[in-house]
């Protein structure tokens, strides 16, 4: 394995050297990301490095590294990605001192067509039917290894088709799962095969409609999976076909998008049944409409998902729900505001795909409104003012996919106002109300309520020196009750930034989650170092949440891009 990687690196070096000689050998682009943690025992935070599965023999250091190199020469490109875990960070799938080649591709792109062999990422429509992508925070990389071709007829018709083997990405070293093999250069491939095609027709361009944009789109996917007896008995088929149809319209700032997805047969856990599973038809509907223009941005989204589990492979063992959280072939994100302030992210919403028999899925929607009060208006004043409001509400579908037995899963409302008061001072005030389910997988019916207020103030002392202060308060009678948090950041442009923050649960545990750090960025490089105590929580994306255990320690991250 090491020989293969070194040989690959040597090839990359040779391309780079050619580029350096200013000959017409194209150019190389590369990036490196390295995330390193040094863990410290913290009795108060209930964190013990010795209890972490990847930290063995008294080791308290872990590091995740990613190197990606691409070479471009006119219409030809090639590239690879190498990942190294020495060992993997706590909270990620356990990996001991392992370096793997995760992506490798060769691509030819002409004016109207392209062909890629090797690793590629793809998304059909919103991703509800099919998406392959990488999310390093989540430890997800379900790149396809195979062949993809695209063809476009002017700006009227776009067609793409592929065949490939999905990569499962990182999973436990010690976990043996059906459908997983690590023998092919460490690419982490499954033995599942996926073929798909997508067609997009621009009716407006075909019919020379100048003011309206109108597209009709459709996709089809076939997943081929070896059938174990338990899966066949549940009603699964070797070839599972899914399809979607989409309509996109835009006229003078008004827009409408509609998507219907039929995902074919999906596995549902049935705890009481003999073999613990059955197959049901998966489907989803997505609608987005709104208006963008004249300083106003308005979006209304509605979505219904029923039995949209869509795993890359189905486990044939006793527990059908067993497996890694990154085992997914589509993208089903939470359609609610993705907050960034500390106290607003304590209870994120995790969408319900309907993989358990008791609930078939979810239904709900959200409204977002952005408005810019321009300079010189009565409300906007001398420097303008920006306001934003969001409301989202999500309910479960009952066992039959109906709303009759529906229960509230999540609801939130938020409002924020951003105002530049003077050339030096700017503030953002935000309020958020959340109804959240205590269990991130929404299995419980415990609904908590919280109110959060945030004041975010930025002051520019000079052209190079500025400071930012965040003050936050969460009020709740539920769960861990009241919290407060503060963050102070001092920036020395253009390279340095230092910060200190604390999140204090004074309503129940009395614990402080302190954090401090410094970052330096120059040109292609960014280095950040910090030390702190981190609360257990979840990182959610695409319909899955990765549990982040509580930990205390120092971290060093490095990113470089060329």
């Amino acid at each position: 394995m090491k020989k293969v990687l070194l040989a690959t690196l040597a090839v990359a070096f040779s391309f780079v050297s050619f580029a350096d000689e200013k000959k017409d050998w194209g150019y190389v682009s590369a990036s490196l990301e390295s995330n390193n943690n040094l863990y410290v025992e913290d009795v108060v935070n209930n964190f013990y490095p010795s209890e972490q599965p990847q930290l063995k023999d008294g080791n308290t250091f872990a590091t995740n590294n990613y190197l990606k190199v691409d070479w471009y020469k006119d219409r030809l490109s090639a590239g690879m990605q190498v990942e190294g875990y020495f060992p993997s960070l706590v909270g990620f799938a356990v990996s001991q001192n392992k370096m793997t080649l995760s992506n490798l591709y060769l691509s030819w792109k002409d004016k109207s067509y392209s062909v890629t062999a090797g690793s590629f990422y793809e998304q059909f429509g919103s991703g509800l039917l099919f998406r392959s992508w990488e999310d390093r925070m989540l430890g997800l990389n379900n790149a396809m290894l195979g062949v993809r071709a695209t063809y476009g007829w002017e700006d009227k018709i776009a067609f793409k088709a592929f065949w490939g083997i999905p990569r499962l990405g990182k999973i436990d070293d010690n976990t043996a799962m059906m459908g997983y093999t690590d023998s092919f250069f460490g690419l982490g491939l499954t033995d599942v095969q996926v073929a798909g095609a997508d067609l997009s027709v621009s009716l407006s361009n075909l019919l020379n409609m100048e003011t309206v944009n109108l597209d009709l789109e459709g996709s089809v996917i076939n997943k081929h999976e070896a059938m174990a007896e338990a899966l066949a008995a549940a009603g699964c088929k070797e070839n599972n076909i899914g399809w979607s149809g989409r309509l996109n319209m835009e006229y003078d700032g008004f827009f409408f998008k509609g998507e219907y997805v039929d995902a074919g047969k999906q596995i549902v856990s049935v705890p009481a049944a003999m073999n613990g599973r059955k197959a049901e038809n998966g489907n989803a509907q997505l609608v987005e409409l709104g208006y963008n223009g004249r300083g106003l941005g308005l979006t209304v989204t509605g979505r219904r998902m029923e039995r949209m589990n869509q795993r890359i492979y189905n486990y044939a063992g006793a527990d059908p729900g067993y497996g890694t959280s990154v085992n997914m072939l589509s993208y089903r994100p939470a359609m609610s505001t993705q907050y960034t302030y500390m106290l607003m992210t304590l209870n994120p919403y995790s969408p319900q795909v309907g993989d358990k028999v008791i609930k078939a899925g979810e239904i709900g929607g959200q409204v977002d409104a952005f408005y810019n009060f321009r300079r010189g208006t009565r409300v906007g004043g001398k420097r303008g003012m920006k306001v934003h409001a969001n409301f989202s509400s999500w309910h479960s579908l009952d066992e039959k996919g109906s709303v009759e037995g529906s229960e509230l899963l999540f609801r939130d409302f938020s409002f924020d106002v951003e105002k530049q008061w003077t050339r030096k001072f700017k503030s953002t005030l935000m309020y958020c109300y959340q109804n959240y389910n205590k269990n991130h997988d929404m299995t419980g019916l415990y609904i908590g309520k919280s109110h959060v207020v945030v004041a975010d103030m930025l002051y520019k002392w000079s052209s190079k020196l500025s400071s930012r202060l965040e003050l936050q308060y969460l009020s709740s009678k539920d769960d861990q009750k009241d919290w407060m948090a503060g963050l102070l950041e001092v920036n020395f442009a253009p390279h340095w930034s230092v910060f200190a923050s604390d999140m204090w649960n004074h309503g129940d545990t009395g614990l402080h989650y302190y954090n401090g750090g410094v970052s330096f960025s120059m040109s292609h490089l960014r280095v950040a170092a910090g030390y702190g105590r981190y609360r257990a929580g979840y990182i959610c994306s695409g319909g899955v949440c990765r549990a982040i255990p509580a930990y205390t320690g120092a971290n060093l991250s490095l990113t470089a891009s060329f």
Binding site: N65, Y121, F255, F370, L465, P494, H524, S561
Partner: protein, 164 residues
Amino acid sequence: MKTFLLSLAALFVTVAASAQVPSVKVENSKGESFDTAALLEEGTPMIISFWSTTCKPCIRELEAVYEALPDWLEEVDFRVVAVSTDDSRQLAKAKSFAEGRGWGSDFTLLFDKNQDFMRAMNVTVVPHVFVVDAKGKVVFSHTAYVQGGEVELFEAVKKSVRKK
């Protein structure tokens, strides 16, 4: 481990070739397919800024550029291309967000919902800005933003014009 780190260090010391803007399909604000190679057709320098709705420094940087743009354009002729890396969860919101900020009138807005352009430009974290000269060569790039950092960015734009 040592071999790995040494290999990485050697690679990054060696990489010095001037990168360009690859051809990748993204979306424009109307939802139409847009080939990033078309960005080079105007033959003027440009700032390409990768941002997302959940990245506060990205928004602060684009706001700073938006505020300073009228003054900058009096000195140099260039464009600003703001590439949203928001995926389907935030895509519609990103379009409304950008319009709510008034960016649509001054920036070229592109939407990279499966991060294909971001990957092709080897962007790992946002904000990440590139300055591309009139010939399509990347002459400056910067990761992260601290308040006031836009001055360095504009200096790079002016330098790219002088190079021409």
